[in-house]
Symmetry: C2
Subunit: 170 residues, 2 copies
DNA sequence: CTCGAATATTTCGTATTCGAAGTTCGATAT
DNA sequence: ATATCGAACTTCGAATACGAAATATTCGAG
């Protein structure tokens, strides 16, 4: 690490891209994908530390965020598993813990009794809100090198990518 | 899911951002960060499926990629743990498996016998190369909505973010 | 109406991960 | 020289995750 500390993050990134290109990747693709992963990797590290203050793991956060984004709509354990990228069986235990802590509540779906509906409690909403405000600090710091127009341009380009995301596996 | 299928990924994304903003996040920040995570989440799903063909987990891939990016330089288990965002103790077992499979090799550092030096074998390099070429397919598909100039612009903006990444925790 | 297939969740055994303690080696101060 | 502190890796027990089988309910075909 100390040896690499002399090189700027830019140079490091450029060298990484070169490695992928040498292995058979396309330059214009690898430049973007490698950069995206460099950002999320750093963000993930910060989230772990930030959320530790709130006694929240990344897995629990993903459940909290999914339910918050769903708004009033309740979600099933299966949907939460999909949204969190984990196996359904893993979600069972995660929800056990979180409901035991009073963050979420489970209730049977009256119209289909094989289903269980999960929703945030008041405490769950409060924790979500606290987590958003905490993480916004590091996220904002992450983007401090970009002007407001640049942020909008970056968001615009990423949103184009998102738009085509669901069509790829088809 | 079926209910949400009518809404475009754009609208879905905009609603998610609105949720974070309502909880106390800044709009220009949340638009970018949420989009970045939407992209990596989808990519992660594809990686799992693609790498299954090569009998490779994401954890093993992160080791392979870290060693490949290091080039000729050997890395220690601690460095690999840092680069892979896992605990050192987890890396021990992971390297056991991978060296048993002939992908990496461990050898003692002559200058400091507390250290172990890890490097890719020929098979490890071959698997890395195969994985890059496989993943380049979906990565390329992911960016197909962007023109070449747009990809460069996206890369440029992300690289500005990367440049400031290491200064944040200070 | 009933049987069989499909869906949703949970249970269970195995594998992976983490954090803490243990072990070995290197560096520094006395 | 040696004693102590720190660094690097591993081992161990607990927690978490996964996949397959088990359970319960719904839906459709005959």
């Amino acid at each position: 690490m100390a040896a690499k500390r002399r090189r700027s993050a830019q140079q490091e990134h450029a060298a990484d891209v070169a490695t992928y290109v040498a292995a058979g990747g396309e330059e214009s693709v690898q430049r973007v994908i490698t950069a995206v992963y460099a950002v999320t990797k750093k963000l993930d590290q910060w989230y772990v530390r930030q959320f530790a203050d709130l006694d929240l793991t990344q897995g629990e956060w993903s459940v909290l965020a999914a339910l918050a984004r769903a708004g009033d709509t309740c979600l099933t354990p299966s949907q939460l598993a999909d949204l969190s990228n984990v196996a359904p069986s893993s979600m069972t235990h995660r929800l056990d813990k979180m409901s035991g802590r009073g963050l979420v509540q489970r209730r049977p779906d009256e119209t289909n009794r094989t289903r269980t509906l999960v929703s945030l409690t008041t405490d769950g909403w409060a924790l979500f809100s606290a987590a958003v405000r905490e993480s916004n600090v590091v996220e904002s710091d992450t983007l401090r090198g970009l002007s407001t127009p640049e942020r909008h341009e970056l968001a615009r380009l990423l949103e184009i990518v998102i738009e085509g995301l669901d069509d790829v596996d088809a």
